[in-house]
């Protein structure tokens, strides 16, 4: 499964920052601080790979996805997509980019227009981008996309409310594929689904990846799904990547104390395994991203923190081949 390290990068983030201003006052809005949603991220996604991005609410994983999609204009840093920095592109250039980068959202209930029929939802991106201008050919393409995603082509005449959650998520996937993108941001794409349906969608995402050689950024909080689907995993905490490694290496040998806490917190569906695990949950909660702790942002909750952790922000270091950790104490 692991790709060669020399596979060409499709996406490179360099020093990516996304800060949202916090203001006070009704008329004269005073700038009193920033929510540092993404605060200096360097990351590479190789062509054809599935990179998992995990972390808890508010860690910045969704904002990072939105920056890559250029739904946000980053405060600082570069987003090099296929060699071109897209962080500062204007509207017109972004239109061309969006044919290549698509998104699948979490909630199939709110991400589909309830007044539009499924066929027209899937045809919309083709109309916007002037692909398949001929209506008959466009309809044929919609039917093809529906079958590709495991739905009967006659679903084109239905409304989203006539479908189950799993079927709606298939529609969302068909829409994302309509422009034949090469890169898809999957933002919690299976999180809202029941386990029996979730497995169907995971298999579909895998089939499509293999068939069209897609590259995925798979944003999720469910670590078991990430282990199943991804080749490499980045763990985020408070706007920063704290650990990055090949999938099995990260899960079998986590080095950052936050990753270790996160993995220990997830119960495994096996009572015998669970009975044998010594477990103490990590204390405290994620601090505010407006005023993050000094030095290493994890130090107030960290079981192995030393005095220096309060002062120095650790950079990602390659502790083992392809295993990067932002912790001064890890080895």
């Amino acid at each position: 499964m692991t790709l060669a390290d020399n596979a060409p990068p499709l996406l490179e983030l360099r020093g990516l920052r996304m800060h949202f201003p916090v203001t006070e006052g009704m008329i004269a809005r005073r700038h009193i601080g920033d929510v540092k949603a993404v605060d200096g991220v360097d990351l590479t996604i190789r062509r054809g790979e599935t990179l998992g991005l995990v972390g808890e609410s508010g860690c910045g994983k969704t904002t990072m996805g939105r920056c890559i999609l250029r739904l946000e204009k980053p405060t600082a840093g570069e987003i090099r997509y296929d060699g071109v920095d897209i962080a500062r592109l204007g509207r017109k250039e972004l239109v061309a980019l969006r044919r290549r980068i698509q998104v699948i959202f979490q909630d199939p209930y709110s991400s589909l227009n309830p007044r539009q029929k499924v066929g027209s939802i899937i045809a919309e991106p083709m109309k916007v981008h002037g692909v398949e201008p001929d209506p008959a050919r466009r309809t044929a393409r919609v039917h093809e996309l529906l079958s590709l995603c495991g739905l009967n082509p006659n679903f084109a005449d239905r409304y989203p409310h006539e479908m189950s959650g799993g079927q709606r998520q298939r529609v969302g996937i068909a829409r994302a594929l309509a422009l034949e993108p090469e890169f898809i941001v999957c933002d919690e794409a299976v999180s809202a689904l029941d386990v029996s349906i979730q497995a169907q969608i995971i298999n579909l995402l895998e089939d499509l990846r293999d068939k069209f050689n897609l590259t995925y950024l798979f944003i999720a909080h469910d670590l078991s799904v990430v282990r199943h689907l991804c080749q490499r995993v980045a763990v985020m905490y408070l706007g920063r990547v704290v650990e990055l490694a090949d999938c099995d290496e990260l899960f079998d040998n986590p080095l950052h104390p936050y990753t270790q806490a996160l993995l220990a917190a997830v119960p495994v569906p096996d009572p015998t395994v669970e009975a044998g695990r010594a477990f103490r949950p990590v204390a405290g909660e994620v601090p505010s991203p407006i005023n993050p702790p000094s030095g290493c942002v994890f130090h107030p909750r960290c079981p192995i923190a030393v005095t220096a952790c309060k002062e120095v922000r650790p950079d990602l270091r390659e502790i083992r081949p392809s295993h990067w950790v932002a912790c001064s104490q890890a080895n």
Partner: protein, 332 residues
């Protein structure tokens, strides 16, 4: 010893525009004093409605508990007056719901919501209720209790709010706590804190716990016994170890096979359950899982299989072929 709670043949239905929905379709189970029992199932399986039914919290209309008995500490809750039920709720039976933001009152302070419960059930003076509230917040691990009591729910994080819910549930020394998806809205590290807290407190105080969840990992870590629900019925029940290692119902087998594992490298493609759960307004005479079942035979269309002993002692399965499933289950 008599069980603390014995549910006998409970039915709950909702009359809707498209027909009668049989949300709970004749379930029976017991909970022993101090025991943790899980009810596990997917959306629409009836697990939450079954819990609300225990407390007679089904809005009528459109809902109705249409049959059954709920024996709790020697009394059938179905025969109690509304006033007697109010004494049970929050008294002998505490509740913790999924979304603490919607189950706490946004315009009352945390302190008022805790003392209200105490005064309602215990009477007594305001100062005593206040002291008990401070003690309860300490019990659930909230530091600086006196300041917290003056705060409103929106000033607390999700994890903190759920701790407050647990404090309220424990306020009147209950014998049983019903927790409906208590950690589903929380992040994993906070989920772990809350579940550890609930386990520690229920053990220490000898409180029985019914935990309703869709998370098979949570069940494996915290429950002694498990009831698996599908389309309003319990399809399998037994000890957690028996169900996970030797499941005897095709739905349990399929459920365990369809989740990826965190503790193992990827083995193969996932093995999902084909299709979707049935429409609860159009249930027929047969087994409701048969359309998605790999083991279905002709007989499955003719009648609903009863919950009968299968596998380990105390294990029950509602499947005509539960005895043929031993090998299939072990492969899961």
């Amino acid at each position: 010893m008599a069980p603390l709670l014995e549910v006998k043949d409970l039915y709950t239905e909702f009359r809707t525009g498209v027909g009668v929905v049989r949300a709970v379709d004749g379930i029976s189970y017991t909970v022993e004093p101090g025991e943790t029992v899980a009810i596990v199932g997917e959306s629409g399986s009836g697990k939450s409605v079954s819990a609300l039914s225990l407390l007679r919290l089904i809005p009528d209309p459109p809902g109705q508990i249409s049959g059954g008995e709920i024996w709790f500490a020697g009394r059938d809750l179905m025969t109690l007056s509304e006033e007697e039920m109010r004494q049970i709720r929050g008294g002998d039976i505490g509740m913790v719901f999924q979304e603490p933001m919607t189950s706490l009152n946004p315009v009352l302070t945390i302190g008022r919501q805790i003392t209200e419960t105490i005064e309602q059930h215990r009477g007594g003076d305001v100062a005593a209720a206040q002291r008990r509230a401070i003690e309860l917040l300490g019990l659930v691990g909230i530091a600086d209790a006196e300041r917290r009591l003056r705060q409103y729910p929106h000033q607390l994080s999700g994890g903190m709010r759920q701790r407050v819910m647990i404090a309220i549930a424990l306020a009147c020394d209950p014998k049983l706590i019903i927790a409906d998806e208590p950690t589903t809205a929380l992040d994993v590290t906070i989920q772990a804190q809350i579940l550890e807290l609930m386990q520690e407190l229920t053990r220490r105080l000898g409180v029985a716990l019914i935990v309703i969840t869709h998370n098979l990992g949570v069940v494996a870590r915290y429950a002694q016994r498990v009831n698996v629900m599908y389309a309003g019925r319990i399809v399998e029940s037994g000890s957690a170890a028996a169900l996970y290692h030797n499941p005897r119902h095709p739905y349990t087998i399929a459920l365990l096979r369809s989740v990826p594992r965190l503790d193992r490298p990827r083995q193969s493609r996932l093995d999902p359950i084909d299709g979707a759960p049935p429409d609860l307004t159009r249930l027929d005479l047969g087994c409701s899982f048969r359309a998605r079942c790999r083991f279905a035979i002709e007989k499955c269309a003719a009648a609903k299989p009863p919950l009968l002993p299968a596998g380990a002692p105390g294990q029950l399965s509602a499947c005509f072929r539960s005895h043929d499933l031993a090998l299939a289950g072990q492969a899961a």
